[in-house]
């Protein structure tokens, strides 16, 4: 149930993000989900792509500082309260979320939340027990 996410260290300067997307475009790598956390000096770009292994290799070769992580992809009903019912499960179990970001999936009309926790095995169990649909890595890459 793990999904590979690639994080890239980025200095906050004009054109830096474009340099990353240009590398990915050249290698025909499609971005499935993207999130950027930033401070005034630097940012952490988090990406889920269709070909994570190739993307890691090419980004390293281009000299980017990257880290691979496992995240969880939850399917959420696209309706009021959809996110809330999932977060309730986390709150009840006192499980904290490091960060999360979402995207909308056009084939099924559902939202997908990407969640990073420090105890993924436990989180997966709680979510499945709570009836939340999780996506496997391959499912997310090929969306």
């Amino acid at each position: 149930m793990h999904v590979k996410q690639i994080s890239i260290f980025m200095e906050n300067r004009a054109g830096r993000l474009e340099e990353i997307t240009s590398v990915l475009a050249k290698e025909n790598i499609n971005i499935r989900a993207i999130s950027l956390a930033d401070t005034s000096d630097f940012g952490i770009l988090r990406l889920i792509v269709n070909k994570p292994v190739d993307a890691v290799e090419i980004l390293r070769k281009e000299g980017f500082t990257i880290r691979e992580n496992e995240v969880i992809a939850c399917v959420i009903e696209d309706r009021p309260g959809g996110l809330h019912s999932m977060l309730e499960l986390f709150a009840k179990s006192e499980l904290s979320i490091e960060y999360m970001y979402g995207f909308f999936e056009r084939h099924t009309d559902k939202a997908v939340m990407i969640i990073r926790v420090n105890d993924p095995a436990r989180a997966i169990k709680i979510l499945l027990d709570g009836g939340v649909e999780l996506l496997r890595g391959e499912q997310v890459y090929s969306l």
Binding site: Q5, S7, F9, M10, E11, A37, T39, D41, F42, I44, R46, G63, F64, T65, I66, R67, N69, E98, Y99, R116
Partner: protein, 434 residues
């Protein structure tokens, strides 16, 4: 404790000061009369060597700088005709034109005397077998040490630098008891001994005299432990003489300056003002006996302080601390002296960082701002902002502890700081533009 020349090295301070004054007056006369450079700068500053009546008056004289020596390339600083010169050495010239230095017969005799003192202070006697792993050539280290060993009557093995395998073979087979080289090479040899599976019991090493580059107390204990020796530091620079200006005794607390041959002063590198004893500043040296190249108030660019209290070893010569850095590199941030090497030490000691950094100094209103740019590496890059913040704070804290001033930290991408094959460009000082 062994002292090579008791008469000189334990001379009462009063007699020493008298001797220094007498030698100073005669060296000033020599420099003024025989080196056009000194005649010109003395005249320009409207000062005559005849105005100098005490050691205290020395501060009235202008400085000699490295640039002055370079501008005199090759022979314009020489005070004696070339037919009286018996040896010529030269610096490598990595930072511009090389500086050329010459020695008369008497200069070489004095130099050997100073090296004999250095070796004796380090524990060498005529029974020793001294392996010199300094380069023999234009560099003053090899030949400089060589003749002092002979003067003592110890056996000199002039192996010169490099070829570590041969160094080890000679060290073992020739039964070397004393090692002379740079401290970093001593550590390298210790590693090579380990890798070659040579047991320290197969070696006869007892003492080591290391110099020609700055080294820390940490390195000393590492060298002493790994080679099973007593390691002492010594200091010198070719513009003034070469090795032998000052050396540690077995107390290993500061290097005794051979004050019958040199006068040391500590100045504020920005104003040139002489600082009271004990202050940290730039070391300035005046030669008292050099015939070929008398040097008046040479700015060494080394930052050190003088220790006046008499040493337990019995020598009456003032000691200087290990140089803490070079004035070329020193920054003054909000009144505090900061050396890039201090920041480098912090970064090397931290597991998370590589020693790739750059300092940017700017001024916000009346306040100096120091920004330290540190390259991120994959070992400490986390995708969680909280962890990145913690590491940033840890680096910032350690740097504040080491420098005594707070700095802004900026994490930058790997390899974004310019690499240089020579001296790294560590400092960008934007204050100088204003």
């Amino acid at each position: 404790m062994l002292i090579w020349n008791k008469t000189a090295e334990t001379m009462p301070r009063e007699a020493l000061i008298k001797l220094q004054k007498q030698r100073l007056l005669s060296i000033l006369e020599h420099a003024y009369s025989n080196v056009p450079f000194y005649k010109a700068v003395f005249d320009e500053n409207k000062i005559s060597h005849k105005d100098i009546n005490s050691l205290d008056d020395l501060k009235e004289l202008p400085f000699t700088t490295k640039a002055d020596m370079q501008a005199s390339y090759p022979y314009n600083m020489f005070a004696i005709p070339l037919d009286k010169v018996v040896r010529i050495h030269s610096s490598s010239g990595t930072t511009g034109k090389p500086t050329v230095v010459g020695y008369s017969r008497k200069d070489l005799d004095n130099w050997s005397e100073l090296i004999a003192r250095l070796l004796t202070a380090g524990g060498v006697t005529q029974k020793d077998i001294v392996q010199i792993a300094f380069g023999y050539g234009l560099f003053t280290g090899g030949f400089g040490l060589h003749y002092g060993v002979e003067k003592i009557g110890a056996a000199v093995v002039p192996v010169s630098s490099g070829n570590t395998e041969r160094q080890l073979m000679i060290m073992r087979d020739f039964k070397t008891t004393a090692l002379v080289c740079t401290p970093s090479y001593a550590l390298y040899l210790a590693e090579a001994i380990n890798e070659a599976n040579i047991s320290p019991d197969d070696l006869y090493l007892r003492v080591g005299m290391f110099g020609a580059e700055p080294w820390t107390e940490g390195m000393r204990s590492e060298i002493e432990r790994r080679l099973g020796i007593s390691a002492t530091d010594n200091y010198g620079l070719s513009e003034v003489m070469g090795p032998g200006v000052s050396m540690e005794c077995q107390c290993k607390h500061g290097m005794h300056i051979n004050e019958d041959h040199f006068i040391a002063e500590i100045i504020n590198p920005d104003t040139g003002e002489v600082l009271p004893h004990g202050s940290v500043g730039e070391l300035v040296l005046t030669t008292l006996t050099k015939e070929a190249i008398p040097v008046i108030r040479y700015r060494t660019r080394d930052i050190a302080s003088l220790i006046e209290e008499q040493c337990e070893c019995g020598r009456t010569f003032t000691r200087m601390t290990k140089p803490q850095g070079r004035t070329d590199d020193m920054l003054i941030i909000r009144g505090v002296n900061v050396f890039p090497s201090q920041i480098e030490t912090v970064l090397i000691e931290m597991e998370e960082t590589d020693p790739h950094y750059q300092l940017v100094v700017s001024r916000e209103g009346a306040l100096d701002e120091l920004e330290i740019r540190v390259e991120v590496n994959e070992a400490f890059f986390s995708d969680e902002m909280r962890q990145m913040r913690e590491i940033e704070e840890k680096i910032r804290q350690k740097i504040r502890d080491a420098l005594g001033v707070s700095a802004k930290l900026k994490l930058v991408e790997p390899k974004s700081i310019e690499r240089s094959t020579g001296k790294a460009k560590r400092v960008i000082d934007l204050r100088k533009k204003n």
